[in-house]
């Protein structure tokens, strides 16, 4: 049992062209991945699909950002969920489509589309620091309190994942076996993970609230930042590229260039 899905979204500070991009451009790209995956779910299918193209595009971009392995970690972590989607798709369409090959083809398409959903924000989270994320939210005129809450939550997610892993290790050291026994026994074993995790998280939240009070959080309603995010010529070019590709794909769909299942 691991928390690889959460771990794979942890920001890694690296100096690459993707990391240096304006976070707004990366957000735009991730939104583009998500919306394209949403829109093209019914077209093509199987392994050859728009969703596959989205995942491969992310793989290439994360390769440039020297973080491709984390996308693979996400995919590995999401495998049980993807398998569940595959089974549910097969089961759901059993009465509608009599041919098994077509059924498998559709279920594969749905599974990959689901994977494209899950991974659509990998590029953004892996290459955007929580600080940049916060500045981005402020640029979008979201009040600072909410921005801070969200950024703190994002920052703490990997910490909590580490802690959860430590608790799992502690319970395994007491003879708890998470991978054995019937489903009821397995769920009961998880109680030993969630209770300490909840208690520790609440304690951490309380301590953080106290630390914020000590640092006079909220004393001033007008905030300034030392470093602001500013788009450069390169960022505009990247944004234009993202919009052009997404626009072209959307236009192609409405012009009927994408047909149904081959």
């Amino acid at each position: 049992m691991s928390f690889s899905l959460l771990q794979s979204l942890r920001y890694r500070s690296l100096e690459t062209p993707i990391h240096r991009l304006d976070p707004r451009v990366k957000l735009l790209a991730s939104l583009s991945f998500l919306s394209t995956a949403l829109l093209f779910g019914d077209f093509w299918g199987g392994l050859l699909s728009v969703s596959t193209a989205i995942i491969l595009t992310q793989l290439v971009l994360l390769g440039v950002a020297r973080s491709a392995s984390y996308l693979l970690t996400t995919i590995r972590g999401a495998t049980p969920l993807v398998a569940l989607v595959f089974i549910l798709s097969l089961w759901g369409a059993w009465d509608l489509t009599p041919q098994l090959v077509e059924l498998i083809y559709r279920a594969t398409g749905s599974s990959i589309r689901f994977l494209a959903f899950i991974t659509s924000f990998n590029l953004f989270f892996l290459t955007t620091s929580p600080d940049e994320f916060g500045k981005l939210m402020l640029k979008l005129r979201i009040p600072y309190v909410y921005t801070f809450t969200f950024v703190a939550a994002v920052r703490l997610a990997p910490v909590i994942a580490d802690e959860a892993q430590e608790i799992i290790n502690a319970q395994r050291s007491r003879g708890v076996e998470f991978e054995r026994g019937n489903p009821v026994k397995r769920v009961r074993a998880l109680v030993g993970v969630f209770i300490p995790l909840l208690v520790n998280s609440l304690r951490r939240a309380y301590e953080m609230a106290e630390a914020l009070e000590v640092k006079c959080f909220g004393a001033s309603s007008r905030r300034t930042t030392l470093r602001d995010i500013k788009a450069t010529r390169r960022d505009y070019k990247a944004a234009l590229l993202v919009l052009s590709i997404t626009g072209a794909v959307f236009a192609a769909k409405y012009l009927g260039l994408f047909t149904g299942l081959p």
């Binding site: 430590e166 290790n169 502690a170 395994r172 050291s173 007491r174 708890v176 109680v191 209770i195 208690v199």
Partner: protein
């Protein structure tokens, strides 16, 4: 006997925490793993009960290769107490917390409760039996974490940073507890930065630096070697530091391997020419 044979461990992130470690730990000793932060101490401890499997090399616990067995079965032999006791607790009461693992190991509820009662009494925690583990003090939590492990009486007791968060009284109680375990024939392995505590309890010190063993020997030998300790970012314990200072001042007869308080008092009494002098009370 725990054996490490050319053990290397590399985390999935690519960080190599331990390199080519070969050593063996037998029964009836308290072994202290020491070294700077990130030296590989916790990784070493997690290899002992199979939570981590070596990337290369072999770890054997009483002849069993940790790669070929489960953590649950190794846990019967190797009881690991985590640095943060809060990671272990989730039951509503102290008594249930201690009996939980016993039930996991196949004891009935009644047998588990009976054994837990015995353990809590022996560790002086019986009066806390109905409290929630989360409401205990730092020292009590540490003792409870040890009680949780001691309940099933593993042959090897492994404690990660036993003195972190403990006050003086807590450390004294812990020292007595470790000595009790040793008398009971257990092998105790601790990881610690606390040179004073280690000098009082450990019979052997393994010094780690950047994943490699740089020294392994009797504590009297390692903890009096200032250069070695400094190279591992550790301080020299106060007694050897004081004795070194005295020797430098011309008191040549002092034992340069002295690290324990009792031995130091004896040495100083002889130095004063009054071997029967009780330096604690000042009376002859």
């Amino acid at each position: 006997m725990i054996e490490f044979e050319k053990v290397t461990y590399t985390y999935p992130s690519g960080v190599t925490a331990l390199r080519d470690i070969s050593l063996s730990i037998g029964g009836g000793e308290i072994v202290a793993l020491m070294g700077e932060n990130g030296a590989g101490k916790t990784t070493f401890l997690k290899l002992l009960n199979g939570l981590l499997k070596p990337t290369s090399g072999v770890v054997r616990v009483d002849g069993v290769d940790t790669r070929t067995t489960t953590v649950a079965s190794l846990a019967r032999l190797v009881g690991l107490v985590f640095q943060n006791p809060d990671s272990m607790f989730f039951c509503p009461t102290v008594l249930e917390e201690v009996s939980y693992a016993l039930i996991q190991f196949g004891l009935s509820k009644e047998e588990g409760a009976k054994q837990a009662e015995k353990t809590l009494i022996s560790l002086g925690l019986w009066h806390l039996r109905n409290l929630s583990p989360f409401t205990l003090s730092g020292g009590e939590k540490k003792r409870l974490a040890i009680a949780v492990v001691m309940a099933w009486s593993p042959k090897y007791v492994v404690i990660d940073e036993p003195t972190s968060g403990l006050d003086g009284r807590g450390k004294r109680t812990l020292k007595e507890l470790l000595e009790e375990l040793l008398r009971g024939g257990k092998c105790v392995i601790i990881s610690s930065h606390d040179v004073e505590f280690v000098s009082e309890v450990a019979s052997r010190v393994v010094l780690l630096r950047r994943g490699e063993v740089i020294a392994d020997g009797p504590s009297e030998e390692i903890l009096t070697n200032t250069e070695l300790l400094t190279s591992a970012s550790l301080l020299t314990p106060q007694i050897p530091a004081l004795f070194k200072e005295l020797r430098d001042q011309g008191f040549r007869g002092l034992n340069h391997r002295c690290i324990k308080m009792e031995d130091a008092l004896r040495e100083l009494s002889s130095l004063l020419g009054r071997p029967n002098l009780d330096l604690r009370s000042g009376s002859a």
